[in-house]
């Protein structure tokens, strides 16, 4: 079987998801046996310009330059995989969407603001067709492997459409709300095996909302724990600021 040509790209992001891939360890050797890796900024210096079978794209679209680059990648590649929260839901970059762009530009760049063009932060699927999504900040390595296998086999990958609570209970964690700590697990889609909570942290909602979340029900739960729903909404916007009504 010929090995498919695969490249990793980054738009506006920390490239932490690329590092997650680089840190896969022995699994990475099994992956490299199966693919022809031609571009990967954190690991390779080559920048070839040929056609691709699979393009992994990290990062969100924050300006015209990103947008042009994304369209060029899409044109080159048979499959496009959005990986990491920035690419799949906008991620932390999209916190900027809550304020006027000019105000943020002025705050960050001062009197040089006009030299740094910026636009509304968008995840990839709001601009180009995306074949697979790997959510998470950073991506969960097990899920990356599942998606890559699905892509190699040209099979669909079904992202779990239930709350992180499911995987959290399977790990038999004591509920964060029992500990009087706010956690976004109840409205965030699973697939990370409750990674953060297993390690003593709370869920920050980096994988985006479950489809059709029960907003009123969630608010009732929050009020029972005397939590202000604005506090939760604010927490939710840390990753989900680029959410469009059609994304749900």
């Amino acid at each position: 079987m010929s090995r498919p040509t695969v490249a990793f790209f980054e738009l506006a992001s920390c490239e932490g998801c690329q590092l997650q891939v680089a840190n896969l360890g022995e699994e990475l050797l099994a992956i490299l046996d199966r693919i022809d890796l031609v571009e990967f900024r954190e690991l390779l210096t080559e920048r070839p310009d040929g056609p691709l079978d699979i393009a992994f794209v990290e990062g969100s679209v924050v300006n015209a330059e990103c947008e042009a680059r994304l369209h060029a990648i899409r044109q080159r590649s048979e499959l496009l995989i959005a990986y990491g929260s920035c690419a799949t839901i906008g991620g932390v970059n999209a916190m900027a969407n809550g304020r006027p762009i000019s105000e943020i530009q002025a705050e960050v760049y001062g009197d040089q603001a006009e030299r740094f063009a910026a636009a509304r932060v968008r995840p990839l699927h709001q601009l180009v067709p995306v074949d697979y999504f790997i959510h998470g900040c950073p991506i969960y390595p097990d899920e990356l492997i599942k998606v890559l296998k699905a892509a190699l086999a040209h099979l669909p990958y079904n992202i779990p459409d239930y709350a992180v609570c499911v995987e959290c209970l399977l790990n038999e964690n004591v509920c964060m709300y029992e500990k009087k700590v706010t956690c976004l697990g109840p409205v965030t889609r699973a697939g990370c095996n409750a990674w953060c909570i297993n390690n003593g942290n709370v869920c920050y909602g980096c994988r985006g909302l479950v489809s059709n979340p029960n907003r009123a029900g969630a608010e009732a739960v929050l009020s029972r724990y005397h939590l202000d729903s604005r506090l939760i909404a604010n927490k939710m916007l840390m990753y989900n600021g680029a959410l469009e009504p059609t994304d749900e």
Binding site: L169, V174, R224
Partner: protein
């Protein structure tokens, strides 16, 4: 069968005897008054006063994820079934959990028989432990008569002060008693104390919901269109914790997980939940239980109505886990009371 006594000073020795050649699983404490079943090697690790654990013991008979078979498409359609097993003792099972295991036994022995479950089950030794009093207010065991032992164990321990009264229910249990050499014969006083405890328990444990066992199924038949389900649906976050925590929920999905060569791989069975949005979604996008309220109604009927038709058995054990784990506070007893109130 017969009974023997185990002095509490020998309990440590019993655990020591058991861990010598098998895995021993027992309730261990977590924080915030919670417990889970986990492997132990000493008595000190075990919580003898545990309330029902976060996940029920079904996680051992029906693991959240298990490989059913390995396939290799280079060899035609060659498949090799597999069951991962090891000799295991489950210690400290309360009567509610024993009832749950008996329900699962019934389902998986039903045709088509589930050989993975049945093979695995043979490698377990079950040691029960009686609850002398309620664990907490979420439990509804007495309405289902599950506060008393009804079999399903190899050995069953009842705390009678200085010693445990031990009921031997199987040949496996008998062999364990004989080989360990830690048990002593029953005395008339011990028999007496057991009877006294059971009398005290009839006073402590009262049906938690004002309904007779035989009236439960008719209640659910009559309340299918009830507004109670709409109300519950408005609260439900559809997280599925109620079904994962339920000792008798067994719905699962099957997925193939290939190796990187895409020709070999495993067929996995993973837990599923009727509470999830996509559970009843079918080809063409139709979803025949789209509303959360419909899904909760389904869950309740799968406990109190449908199994009565198929197995003449209610599939709620009264452990209270669904109520305890629910963030939205959908409470089994409250649901019953609302249904009873409406049907009055």
């Amino acid at each position: 069968m017969s009974g023997v006594l185990l002095y509490k000073s020998e309990l440590c020795g019993l655990i020591h005897f058991l861990v010598a050649d098998q895995t021993v699983i027992a309730p261990v404490p977590l924080t915030h008054g919670q417990f889970k079943f986990a492997a132990v090697t000493t008595l000190e690790e075990i919580a003898l006063d545990a309330i029902p654990t976060l996940l029920p013991p079904k996680k051992y008979f029906l693991p959240p994820q298990e490989s059913l078979l390995q396939y290799d498409t280079t060899q035609g359609e060659k498949m090799q079934a597999e069951v991962a097993i090891e000799e295991t003792v489950l210690f400290g099972l309360h009567t509610c959990d024993l009832a749950g295991i008996q329900c699962l036994d019934m389902v998986f022995a039903d045709r088509p028989k589930d050989l993975h479950y049945m093979i695995r089950k043979q490698h377990f030794t079950l040691i029960g432990l009686e609850c002398n009093d309620y664990c907490d207010s979420s439990a509804n065991c007495a309405m289902l008569f599950n506060h008393l032992p009804k079999g399903g164990y190899d050995l069953f321990l009842t705390d009678l002060g200085d010693y445990y009264f031990v009921d031997i229910n199987t040949h496996k249990g008998d062999l364990l008693v004989e080989k360990s050499g830690l048990f002593v014969p029953v005395t008339p006083a011990a028999q007496d104390n057991l009877q006294k405890l059971r009398q005290i328990k009839t006073k402590r444990f009262k049906s938690e919901i004002p309904i007779r066992y035989q009236d439960i199924k008719p209640l659910f038949e009559a309340s299918f269109e009830s507004n109670v389900w709409t109300d519950i649906g408005a609260k439900c976050l559809a997280c599925g914790n109620c079904t994962n925590a339920c000792p008798t929920c067994y719905c699962f999905d099957i997925v193939d997980e290939p190796e990187f060569d895409l020709t070999r791989g495993k067929r996995l069975r993973i837990w599923d939940s009727c509470q999830h949005e996509n559970f009843a979604r079918i080809a063409g996008g139709e979803n025949f239980r789209k509303e959360r309220g419909d899904r909760q109604r389904h869950r309740y009927n799968r406990k109190f109505h449908y199994p009565m038709e198929r197995y003449k058995q209610i599939f709620c054990t009264g452990c209270g886990r669904c109520s305890r784990t629910c963030m939205a506070r959908i409470d089994l007893k409250e649901t019953f009371n609302a249904l009873i109130e409406e049907c009055r």
